[in-house]
């Protein structure tokens, strides 16, 4: 089936098998391998990407369901070579060890901070509760997201009224 999917601001036209999952489209067709493929059953969350502005598990979305829709992956976080604050936060606070869960964590963290710029630790834990990390015990992930909340990028900063 012919699909046109907008990924990170660019339209991609491809002819795909109807049964293909979005995670495989991103990795195998577009070579965007930052999105990982883990449990394949909506449990682990390493495949998290945004679909029309909200994070979803891309192992449970068919590519054809993303036709004419907007997808954002971890490759779409940085702007003009500048890391997104959540990426910088994971660097500053040692938010990853093996890195397998990281891209999914980053996508959910960015979404959380867009909704709630100053989340409590509990709210961060709830936001990432569908994503597994076997290295960090989550402590440093929560710290990393907190760091990002405290260091918003200029383009994310709320408008100041004088």
């Amino acid at each position: 089936m012919k699909v046109t999917v907008n990924v990170n601001g660019q339209d991609y036209e491809r002819d795909v098998e109807p049964r293909q999952l979005l995670v495989h489209f991103l990795r195998d067709e577009l070579d965007l391998t930052g999105t990982h493929w883990g449990c394949d059953t909506s449990n682990c969350g390493v495949c998290a990407v945004w679909l029309d502005g909200v994070p979803v598990k891309s192992c449970t979305v068919l590519t054809v369901m993303a036709d004419d829709r907007f997808v954002r992956t971890v490759e779409g976080l940085e702007r003009d070579g500048e890391l997104d604050p959540v990426q910088q936060g994971f660097t500053e606070c040692h938010g990853l060890q093996c890195g397998f869960c990281t891209s999914g964590m980053l996508m959910t963290a960015r979404w959380l901070l867009d909704q709630n710029p100053d989340p409590a630790d509990e709210e961060i834990r709830e936001a990432i509760s569908g994503q597994l990390c076997r290295c960090t015990g989550y402590e440093n992930i929560v710290r990393s997201v907190r760091w990002a909340a405290e260091h918003p990028a200029a383009y994310d900063a709320p408008e100041m009224t004088v």
């Binding site: 909506s42 969350g45 998290a48 909200v54 994070p55 979803v56 068919l62 054809v64 369901m65 569908g130």
Partner: protein, 257 residues
């Protein structure tokens, strides 16, 4: 379901673009939920929070935020997993579901919707389109403004897991007397996901710790849990009773609030 090889359809139709099925609203004495409403929307809905806290309680412990962003209410009901939370919650509040086909539409009680594990009343060529939840108790007068109190209590082994056992309760109080009550049980083999004998016991009795404890005992006695990797029968039966009592207590607090 397809990945688990439990379903192998010849054709799959994506209904995500049928936005007419995506709504949550109050219409007269009913809360109406479109089949395509997402779990996240049910959780965030002020109408749901005002009338049926049980649905918010249940949603908060269904899977995780990412799954709730994508999963739909109609999809959960039609999957008809015996451990699925909304089936018991909707059975408790005596919801009905609207099923449509090219020939017309019909309404089925949530308590008659499931005909077995992974099997529902939806036939070939039909689509579940809406869930309707009555805000008034059965037989309750229209002249009075009824305010149900409700709650859902679940025990699972880890965040976002299927229930080991769960119970949902809705209470309509007339002063301190139980005017009407609905009790739903998840994952413990209760017929139609309902604790009918406990409901029968409570109706017309005073709402209080003693009657709620007895209702829990009755609910535990009549359910039929099976042992599996989540736990043994006696533990699940204990939970069914205890969670029923807790859900009733919290529902009463909310009805009085």
């Amino acid at each position: 379901m397809m990945k688990l090889r439990l379903a192998a359809p010849d054709a799959l139709i994506d209904i995500n673009d049928v936005s007419e099925l995506s709504y949550i609203r109050v219409d007269g004495d009913e809360l109406l939920i479109g089949a395509l409403a997402r779990h996240a929307e049910l959780l965030a809905s002020p109408e749901v929070a005002e009338h049926f806290a049980i649905l918010g309680d249940a949603e908060r412990v269904i899977a995780d935020p990412l799954v709730r962003n994508r999963g739909t209410i109609g999809g959960s009901l039609c999957q008809a997993d015996p451990s699925e939370d909304l089936s018991a919650a909707f059975a408790a509040v005596r919801a009905s579901v609207v099923i449509r086909s090219a020939e017309g539409s019909r309404t089925v009680s949530a308590r008659e919707f499931h005909v077995g594990p992974y099997q529902t009343a939806v036939a070939d060529g039909e689509l579940l389109t809406e869930i309707r939840v009555p805000i008034r108790p059965e037989g309750g007068t229209r002249s009075r403004r009824w305010k149900p109190g409700s709650a859902y209590e679940k025990v699972c082994r880890r965040a976002g897991d299927w229930a080991l056992a769960a119970a949902g309760a809705v209470l309509w109080l007339d002063g301190d007397t139980v005017a009407d009550v609905g009790i739903g049980l998840t994952a413990v083999g209760a017929e139609h996901f309902v604790a009918a004998e406990a409901e029968e016991y409570l109706r017309g009795r005073p709402a209080g710790d003693e009657t709620f404890a007895e209702a829990g005992r009755i609910a535990a006695e009549h359910c039929r849990p099976s042992a599996d990797q989540r736990g043994p029968v006696d533990y699940k039966r204990h939970l069914a009773g205890e969670l029923t009592t807790r859900a009733l207590r919290r529902a009463a607090e909310r009805a009085r609030a």
